[in-house]
Amino acid sequence: MSDLRTIKITVLRYRPEEEDAPTEQTYEVEFRDDWVVLDALNHIKDHIDGTLSFRWSCRMGVCGSCGMMVNGEPKLTCAAMLRDYYPNEVRVEPLVNFPIVRDLVIDMTDFMDKLKAVKPWIIREEEKPVSEGEYLQTPDQLKDYKQFSQCINCMLCYAACPVYGLEHDFVGPAAIALGHRYNLDSRDEGNQQRQHVIASKEGIWECTYVGECSVVCPKHVDPAEAIQQTKVATTTNRFKSLVMPWGNKK
């Protein structure tokens, strides 16, 4: 079980104080059968080369920090088993479509701004006082949005999305899915306020349906689905208000 084998790990390095463009570095790591790619990176950092920088925290696939490109695919490195790659070499790069800050660390401020732009919080015309208890929500109503609430903000979907790569204004899969999550929540009344971001040119209409975001998502959020659903809902609403301008729009 715990036999040690040796695997080659090639890592993209970028040290902004020393170089203008990234370079590559290869390490050889002895690994145990139950090691993930992140374990190898930590082994390198602890025992071979302390200058290698990357983000991680939970090592259980839920904090969303450790997303990187592993052999060209966006992955949570704490959920990518080394044995699945062995005996081939493993190539680790920072998530594509994002600027590199240092080594495997990307700049995610763009995503943070977009997240805020979709107003990911409950919006109501009137707040119910806490003393009056919870809002009732049936399991069926919960199901309507549950899927879209599973996003861990790991940004693998942004790395997978060619549209985001080419067009940085695109609000992008995860942020749209999260906006959609609140729109579908029976407690929320903020649909209108999110429309100008989500149903805009930089929002759903930028998406040409490549579908790769949903393929790489480790939490099965299916952001492509959120975008398609919003497209349909937005179109039907526009159509409705066109043929029945008197109808109440909500």
Partner: protein, 568 residues
Amino acid sequence: MNIPKHDVLLIGGGGAGLRAAIAASETYRGADIGVVSKVYPMRSHTVSAEGGTAAVMREDDNLDLHAYDTIKGSDFLGDQDVVEAFVKEAIDEVIQLEHWGCPWSRDEDGRVSVRAFGGMSVKRTLYAADKTGFHMLHALFQTSLKYDAITRYDEWFVTSLLVEDGRVCGVTALNIRSGNIHAIGAKSVIICTGGAGKIFPFTTNAAIKNGDGMALAYRIGCPLKDLEFVQYHPTGLPGTGILMTEASRGEGGHLVNSKGERYLSEYVPGKMELGPRDILSRSFIHEQHQGNVFEGPDGSYVHLDLRHLGEKVIDEKLPFVRELTRNYVGIDPVHEPIPVRPVVHYCMGGVHTDINGATPISGLYAAGEAACVSLNGANRLGSNSLTECLVFGARAGQVAAQHAADTDFADSASMAKMAQDEQKRIETQFFGNNGKERVANIRDDLRKTMEEGAGIFRTEDALKATCDTIRTLKERYENIGIDDHSRVFNTDLVNALELGYMLDVAEGLAHSALLRRESRGSHARSDYEERDDENFLKHSLAYQTDGDPRIEYLPVTLTRWEPEERTY
């Protein structure tokens, strides 16, 4: 010199920190709040909490029952006034979170569901499938985005608390991105940095849980309370320490030894799998001594068997457990039992505060796992701590904001000067001295000695040895050298600073444990097997000195519940 300043400054953006930030900003109009976090707030460790959060929600339950369960769970070391305030305010807090969008699991009639949890005599644990902490943290974080009064310092690492005339007036923090150290001024500072599980080798805790905030307070003379109480969770995966939530037992899972017996009938016949964690973890060790456990590459283990629950219940109530076991041990709990063993999980002790989260030092507050109010006493009941983050996060936020309302900022120039000194100190210590000691080696040795001396069972000799080892590790730490001397995103430096915090907390912990010559809750001394209310019905307070820490004691607050024998 211009430095950023905030009325209230949070260190930590986990459950406690974000709840406190929102509470502080709602305390009075115009309150200006800062949140410093070494990781983006939604990465905080609250995200990994699985099982649920406790509050009295149903007709068959009442406040006194929740209070009694908590106090008995704490082995009568919890302060009873604190517990009473907690159970009362818990209800509004979990409903508040519901209003903020937390997707609690629901009953058919639309009310939030509750499940059974260890040590709780009725169902009172709210949950969002088995990703409760994840959903709570994201609901809190996303809600916090709408408060314009909250300024975030994401990926800034606090290196020290600034003190002037005996009061805390801000912090120095390393902007990890740029490598610069800045002073941030504040009228009140709240420590919400979470626990310190990473000072042990096998833990459910994330990489960021190194006791930073506890050490920050300790270094300016604030005592750390009840540090010796460390909770082992009975069901972690061997090796990785990944948690199999207690909800898996709450939903009906069984613990089975290598003989195929549900061995808990010997230890907690009344509660079986729903006994409290300290007792369950000790039962494992007893079984181990009797040779009734399985042996694997990562040591002994027993089985957590969920098969009889069926695929539907597992997928609906415990989907994360299934995801984790499939990914990490290649086991599908629908068809196979899961190997589990006790792993370090939670620190009952922490920064000493009163019922409002105020520490003895003016301007300094603490909440969440980093603090010890003391709700959890000698053993925390599962699902009380997420609620604790909410209740005492909110309290600390309010009280800190009120304090800020009638305080002034300290002088900017002197704070900027302190930041310069701090930058110099760090550069000399870590870049200047060409030390030979590696961070990882000292850290590994620390973890090893903590397990040996301060593990599930402790003795005088082993603890003394651990105290000695920690002393030599601290000396070795003086001679540390790091590979990375650059500025931008230098995680080598961050790890070295964290190691310093870990050593301080470990020192306080081992000495407190050495002097507590009794067994209570999670603190089990093989050489003093009985609880000793006469001498030890009191909190320990560890103060840093130039030599070994000084341990003082503080009486426990009792209101309506007399200490009694703790059997289940």
